[in-house]
C-alpha cells in the first residue's frame, strides 16, 4: 500500500506489537504525531522531558523483556534524549528511538532545531539510521527492531527528516531482515562447552559469577537449574539481582565495590570463575591484577567484545545464554555437588564473620531498614526501580529480590534521574504490581517533572525518598577520601516534598518513625495515585562494606562490629 512516511512509523509499531510509546512532540516530528492522534493501535504516554521518555521506555523494556519505544523531535528534543540512549547502551536495553529531523533541504544549513543527531548518537547506540527516502523506512524500521532485540540488545536510533515523514511510498512490512554483516552467535561452541564442563567437574572451589546477560537472555530458569544441580555457590552482579531468589541457599550475595564480605572473599578464593553474562566491570573487579587471582575463568557471553576485555578467559564461550546453559545442563552429571561441601562451608563462615547488616543506633530511621521493611511488606508484589547513589546500593543489598526483571536500575551509566520515569515505564509494562522507586533527595529532583506524567496518566508510582539532606554517595567519598571536605554535597536547602507532590496532584507523606512509614506505605498503596514518601533518615550513614576505588576485593572497609543490630 502507498502511505506516508509518518503512517509507516505507526504501521511498523503496530506490526511489531508495540502497545506503549513514550515521547514528546515538536516541529520536526509533527507529521508522525498527527498519525498518532488518528490511530488506536497503541497508547502514547506524554512525558514532560525527553530524557524521561527514554528512561520510561527503558523501564518498560527491562520489566517486560520487549523492545521499548520512544519518540522525540529534532534538535533539543534529541539532545535531551542522549543521556537516556547512553544509559540504555551501557545496560544493553533494547530500544527503538525515533527522532524527527529538519527537512532534507535544510540539513547542514544550521536550520531551526537542527543538530547532527546520528553523529551524536553514534557512540551511544547499537546502531543508528538517517532515513533519506520513505521507501527505505519499512526496511529500516524492521532492521531497527531486529537489531535492538537480538544478540547483545541495545538502543537503535532512527532519525527521520520531516519531508520524509510526508513522502508517500510503498509500504510492505512483510519482509525478511537481510543483514549479511550482522549475524549474532547464538549457539555456543560444543567443544568449548565440553571443556568448560570438564573444568567445572575438576575445580575444588568453583564460583558462579552471574550477570545481567542472564536476564536479557531470559535464561533465569536454566541458570537456576544449572546452579542447583551443580551445588556450586553463586555471586551476583548488581545487574543480576533477582536471578537467584534472595532466600536461595547457594546465593552468596552481590559482589563488587559494595558487595558483601562473603561474596568478595569467595571471588578472591575461588579457583574457577564461571562467568555467565557478566562483563567484569570495574565496580565488580576492583584491582584487576588481584581479581580472582588464583582462578581460571569460564566466560559465557553473547558479545565477543566482552570476552577477555578486562579479565582473560581461559574458557571463552560466545553464545546466547539460554542456549549455552541448556547445553551445559545436558552434561551436568559430570559435576558432583558433594565435592564442594567444604567450599560451601568456607563461604558460610565468611558470611557469619561479617554478615551484610547495619546498626540501628540512631534516633533517625536507618535507610536500610526502610528498604528491608518494603521488602517485608510488599516483597514479590512490587517492582523496584531506583535512582543512583547510596539508596541504590542499599536497595541492591537489602531488598529481597525473588525474580528477574524485578529490579530496574541504571547500572553502567549511573544516571541520576533514571528511577522515577523508569518506574512509570515499569508500571505501564506490569500494571498488576506496585511500582516502587527508591530515590534520594538528590536524584528525585532530576526528572521530578514526571509527577505531571504520572498524575495525568494515573500511573501510581510510589517514590520513597530517603532524605539525608546530602548528595549521599559523593558525601560518603568526601568523608572517607577527602578528609571530610563536603564540597557542594550538603542539600540542607530543599523543597517541601509533600507540597511538591501535592502541587502536581499527587500525594505526599513526611515520615520520621517506623509506625509512620508503615502507615504511609499502606495508605499510598491503597490510594493508588502517584506518591512521594519522604523518609527522614540518618544523615551520615555510609554504604558498607566498601572496596575503595582501585582496591582489591579482599581489602574491604567493613561495618564496625556492635552488639545489637
Amino acid at each position: 500500500m502507498q502511505i506516508s512516511g509518518a503512517q509507516m512509523v505507526i504501521e511498523a509499531f503496530i506490526a511489531e506489537g508495540v502497545d506503549t510509546v513514550f515521547g514528546y512532540p515538536g516541529g520536526a516530528i509533527m507529521n508522525v504525531y498527527d498519525e498518532i492522534y488518528k490511530q488506536d493501535g497503541f497508547q502514547h504516554i506524554l512525558n514532560r522531558h525527553e530524557q524521561a521518555s527514554i528512561h520510561a521506555a527503558e523501564g518498560y523494556a527491562k520489566a517486560s523483556g520487549k523492545v521499548g519505544v520512544a519518540m522525540i523531535t529534532s534538535g533539543p528534543g534529541f539532545t535531551n534524549a542522549v543521556t537516556g540512549l547512553a544509559d540504555a547502551y551501557m545496560d544493553s536495553v533494547p530500544l527503538v528511538v525515533v527522532s524527527g529531523q529538519v527537512p532534507m533541504s535544510l540539513i547542514g544549513t544550521d536550520g531551526f532545531q537542527e543538530i547532527d543527531a546520528i553523529g551524536i548518537s553514534r557512540p551511544c547506540t547499537k546502531h543508528n539510521y538517517l532515513v533519506t527516502d520513505a521507501a527505505d523506512l519499512p526496511r529500516v524500521l524492521k532492521e531497527a527492531f531486529y537489531i535492538a532485540r537480538s544478540g547483545r540488545p541495545g538502543p537503535v536510533h532512527v532519525d527521520i527528516p520531516k519531508d520524509v515523514t510526508a513522502q508517500i511510498a510503498e509500504f510492505n512490512y512483510d519482509i525478511e531482515v537481510e543483514l549479511e554483516t550482522y549475524k549474532p552467535h547464538v549457539k555456543g561452541n560444543p567443544r568449548q562447552i565440553k571443556k568448560a564442563m570438564d573444568a567445572i567437574a575438576k575445580a575444588k572451589r568453583p564460583l558462579f559469577y552471574l550477570g545481567g546477560g542472564i536476564i536479557n537472555a531470559n535464561a533465569t530458569d536454566e541458570v537456576r537449574e544449572f546452579v542447583h544441580k551443580c551445588g556450586i555457590p553463586a555471586v551476583e552482579t548488581f545487574m543480576a539481582r533477582g536471578v537467584l531468589a534472595a532466600d536461595d541457599k547457594l546465593l552468596v550475595g552481590m559482589l563488587g565495590m559494595h558487595g558483601s564480605y562473603a561474596a568478595n572473599m569467595a571471588m578472591s578464593e575461588t579457583d574457577l570463575v564461571i562467568g555467565l553474562g557478566a562483563r567484569f566491570d570495574d565496580r565488580v573487579t576492583g584491582k584487576l591484577s588481584e581479581f580472582a587471582k588464583n582462578a581460571d575463568v569460564i566466560h559465557v557471553d553473547i558479545d565477543p567484545a566482552s570476552i577477555s576485555k578486562l579479565v582473560n578467559a581461559d574458557y571463552p564461550i560466545v553464545g546466547d545464554l539460554k542456549n549455552v546453559a541448556t547445553e551445559m545442563l545436558l552434561q551436568v552429571d559430570k559435576v558432583d555437588s558433594d565435592n564442594y561441601e567444604s567450599w560451601r562451608e568456607t563461604i558460610i563462615n565468611f558470611a557469619d564473620l561479617h554478615p551484610l547488616t547495619y546498626h540501628e543506633d540512631s534516633d533517625r530511621l536507618k535507610p536500610q531498614w526502610v528498604i528491608e521493611r518494603v521488602g517485608q511488606l510488599l516483597g514479590d508484589d512490587a517492582n523496584i526501580s531506583t535512582d543512583v547513589g547510596q539508596h541504590q546500593m542499599w536497595t541492591a543489598q537489602f531488598y529481597p529480590f525473588s525474580r528477574p526483571r524485578q529490579f530496574i536500575s541504571s547500572g553502567g551509566l549511573g544516571t541520576m534521574g533514571f528511577g522515577f520515569p523508569a518506574a512509570i515505564g515499569v508500571k505501564a509494562a506490569d500494571p498488576e504490581r506496585t511500582s516502587i522507586n527508591f530515590t534520594g533527595d538528590g536524584s528525585i529532583l532530576m526528572n521530578v517533572q514526571e509527577l505531571m506524567t504520572a498524575v495525568e496518566r494515573k500511573i501510581p508510582v510510589i517514590n520513597i525518598i530517603l532524605n539525608n539532606n546530602f548528595l549521599g554517595m559523593v558525601r560518603q567519598w568526601q568523608t572517607l577520601f577527602y578528609d571530610k571536605r563536603h564540597s557542594e554535597t550538603d542539600l540542607s536547602v530543599q523543597p517541601d516534598f509533600v507540597k511538591l507532590s501535592e502541587a502536581f496532584g499527587g500525594i505526599g507523606y513526611r515520615v520520621k518513625t517506623k509506625e509512620e512509614f508503615d502507615a504511609a506505605l499502606k495508605d499510598a498503596v491503597e490510594k493508588n495515585i502517584v506518591a512521594f514518601i519522604e523518609v527522614i533518615v540518618e544523615r551520615f550513614e555510609n554504604v558498607m562494606p566498601m572496596v575503595p576505588s582501585g582496591g582489591s576485593l579482599f581489602n574491604m572497609m567493613l561495618l564496625e562490629k556492635k552488639e545489637t543490630k
Binding site: I118, G119, R122, P123, K126, H127, L130, I147, L179, E180, T181, Y182, D303, P304, A305, K309
Partner: protein, 158 residues
C-alpha cells in the same frame, strides 16, 4: 599512547553506505588513538568497500578495537594482519629545473617513474613498501620537491 605500542595494519570490509567511515574512525578517536593512514575503495562487483588502516597501539587495545569493529553492524570482516604484502604510493612534484634523469633513475629504483612533465614542473610517482617510500622521500630531498602526496598503505595477507 602506551610504551609498548607498535605499528599495526588492520583491514576492514564494510558495507558501502553513508556514515560507515565515521563509525569506524570513532572507535579510534574515542580511545585517543591516532590513525596513521587510512585508505578506502570499493571492492569490485560487490556492495562492500575495503579499508586499510595503519595505526599504532598496544596489542591489547588494538585487539579490543578490532573486536569493537566487528561489533559494528555494517562491518563484514576484520583482518588484523600479521604476514602481509604492503604497498604505498607517493606522488612528488619537482621544479622543471631539476635533473630529469637523476629523478627518473631514483624513481625506477623504487618501482616508479616520471608520470607528467609540464613547462614548469615534473611529477613523479613511486609505489613500494611504506618503509621504502620513506627512504625515497628522503633521497629526493636534494631535488627540491615542491609537493608530496602519499596514498597511505594498502595490504594483503600472504
Amino acid at each position: 599512547m602506551t610504551d609498548n605500542s607498535e605499528r599495526r595494519v588492520v583491514s576492514v570490509i564494510v558495507v558501502n553506505e553513508a556514515s560507515v567511515l565515521s563509525r569506524i574512525t570513532n572507535l579510534f578517536s574515542g580511545r585517543g588513538y591516532n590513525i596513521t593512514s587510512l585508505t578506502v575503495a570499493p571492492i569490485p562487483d560487490s556492495k562492500y568497500s575495503r579499508l586499510t588502516i595503519v595505526t599504532a597501539g598496544s596489542v591489547r587495545v588494538i585487539e579490543q578495537i578490532t573486536k569493537q569493529l566487528h561489533k559494528l553492524i555494517p562491518v563484514l570482516r576484520v583482518y588484523e594482519h600479521e604476514d602481509i604484502v604492503e604497498k604505498e604510493m607517493a606522488l612528488v612534484k619537482f621544479p622543471i629545473t631539476e635533473n630529469l634523469s637523476d629523478i627518473n633513475t631514483l624513481c625506477e629504483a623504487y618501482n616508479g617513474k616520471i608520470v607528467n612533465i609540464s613547462d614548469t614542473v615534473i611529477i613523479a610517482m613511486v609505489a613500494d613498501e611504506p618503509k621504502r617510500v620513506e627512504n625515497f622521500l628522503s633521497a629526493i630531498k636534494r631535488y627540491n620537491p615542491k609537493e608530496i602526496v602519499r596514498s597511505g598503505a594498502v595490504a594483503l595477507e600472504r
